[in-house]
Symmetry: C3
Subunit: 241 residues, 3 copies
């Protein structure tokens, strides 16, 4: 029996990973799905990257979790990298699921096409509370391309505005991921075009892990909505020793 | 119920898409499979790109088709791009299936490896009627690699000589695909080596669409022969809203 | 009925391909699984590339095999290229399964990331008998990432130390693979990260074949252990005319 902690991506909360957690629990594991600072109901949207990382460090301590298989989705890759740097003694393996892999001094915005940075800035400027949202056409075509319109709309309705500062803050790491003495896996959904395939998640970002285990699975960036059971199996394949 | 118009590739006619149309019709949609000027029995092989595009513009008008989901296969990508530029008011969504995506002023020959251009020119020079054919070994190994020899031979026997001028003519567009206000999808058959994978269909050409929905499916360039049912499902996944 | 000769990769023997040979035999074909000079029990680990190639040339002659579908896995790609150059009259088709494709004058070490060359040299220096072994973490994460730990350990226990000289020797060819008048196929396991995906088997090495048939199949570099039945089907799809 292993202990999984699943860290959601931008615009999500832990609740959206419950359907994925269920088959992992059914296989006999413990699964936690915390929500990051900045994405909890009522959180100020001025939260930065460090606060978000700290919220998971505190969560692991509060629940005294050890030997953790720590997964991060998308923006969650920034978080788990920061957590592993601060409390490596609690982590058994890192799993990046179509997730950002930062080195010291890099922000999420440093790892996406410049067109996204400009789009996020202009949307946040319009909103004025520090948060950014995804335009529905981008969500529907590039994030959840494997679902039907009904699923795309329902899932879009669940999303919460995301604090932009967590995208522009540069991470501070003592050790870059490739040099961390922790086992690592990368799950790549092969139809994930939330980052365009000419500027892809894998291998562009995954190779920054050094030695890692690749697990690939058909599906979009939002496999947690379109096929959580398939995602759960990929997570268990990525997480086993 | 949606209206699909499937535009075939070079050397094909609409008849070769009937096996693909059948499951789409069975799902309740209307499906049309016109044959392009230059590929109809008896057509002169001196037909150019503009004539081929016009033949589909005329077809849509003659049948008064509106709200069309317009698919182009391979060379058919040149055609649907030109059609969408001329009569955008008839088009609901474009689907490129391992298809060329031209910007204004580009020819099909501009988008393939130079080795193919030279090969086509030398074959056409030998034939002398303006047409080009594919050598069987290239067809068998790089176009229909997922079929057995019997299927490869039968399908090869159905092909018709293709007017070379449609490959060298440069397209004239008012609007490039990325700027068209029409939804777009790209279907990528993952074993399609009709363009070599170091100079691939996707993402090299698909990224010229701007925002688009990616659908990937196992199979060769000629999935319409090797697995039309699987292709039909991919088309419906690409075509839905 | 066809005749298959399956040539194993580094650290393996022919015995590890028996589970793959079984379903091919069950489909009515003859299958041979020779072991290369340097990998047979008792072989000196100072064997070079030419000796290993010769051992297969001799094997084909000793068994008077003709019209052979000759497959090479990984390092076995160096071998089958050399064999085809020496006795093309015996070969019907070459199949490279995530295998090296050398041109005249190239060594295996010339085709891998420099980090591997340094690793192999330092391991061999420690061993002192001319052989190199794979560290278990690399084997488990990058070679057999689709298996569980038990399978990874069992398979690792079967491996034999490999003569390093076969990696550094440059091959001598009269004809480069792209110019050989023999049909060629490339099987690419899509999760094979034994060469990293930013420096991949396919299309980086496969494109050196010129015209070839691509067959892709899910799995790691060691599909012979993790799913020999699926591998056997891929081999038959790659080997048929």
């Amino acid at each position: 029996m292993a202990t999984y902690v699943l860290v959601h991506g931008a615009w999500h909360t832990g609740a959206e990973l419950e359907a994925t957690a269920a088959p992992i629990r059914a296989a006999g594991h413990k699964v936690y799905t915390p929500t990051l600072a900045g994405n909890r109901p009522g959180d100020a949207k001025t939260v930065g990257l460090n606060d978000a990382i700290t919220s998971i460090v505190d969560y692991l301590a509060a629940n005294d979790l050890k030997d953790v298989i720590l997964l991060g989705h998308s923006y969650g890759g920034m978080i788990i990298t920061g957590v592993a740097d601060r409390v490596p003694e609690r982590i058994h393996r890192l799993i990046y699921w179509n997730a950002f892999v930062p080195n010291n001094g890099e922000s999420l915005n440093d790892l996406v096409p410049p067109i996204y940075v400009g789009l996020f800035d202009s949307i946040a400027a319009q909103r004025g509370d520090g948060s950014v949202v995804l335009p529905f056409p981008i969500w529907r075509e590039a994030f959840i391309n494997d679902g039907d319109l009904d699923l795309a709309q329902k899932a879009y309705g669940i999303l919460n505005p995301h604090p932009l500062k967590t995208f522009s803050d540069k991470i501070s790491l003592k050790t870059n991921p490739a040099d961390m003495q922790i086992a690592k896996s990368y799950i790549n959904c092969t139809e994930d075009t939330s980052l365009p395939h000419h500027y892809p998640w894998h291998p562009r970002l995954s190779q920054k892990l050094g030695l890692f285990r690749l697990v690939q699975v058909p599906g979009s960036h939002e496999l947690c909505f379109s096929n959580p059971k398939r995602l759960a199996q990929a997570i268990m394949d990525a997480g086993r020793d």
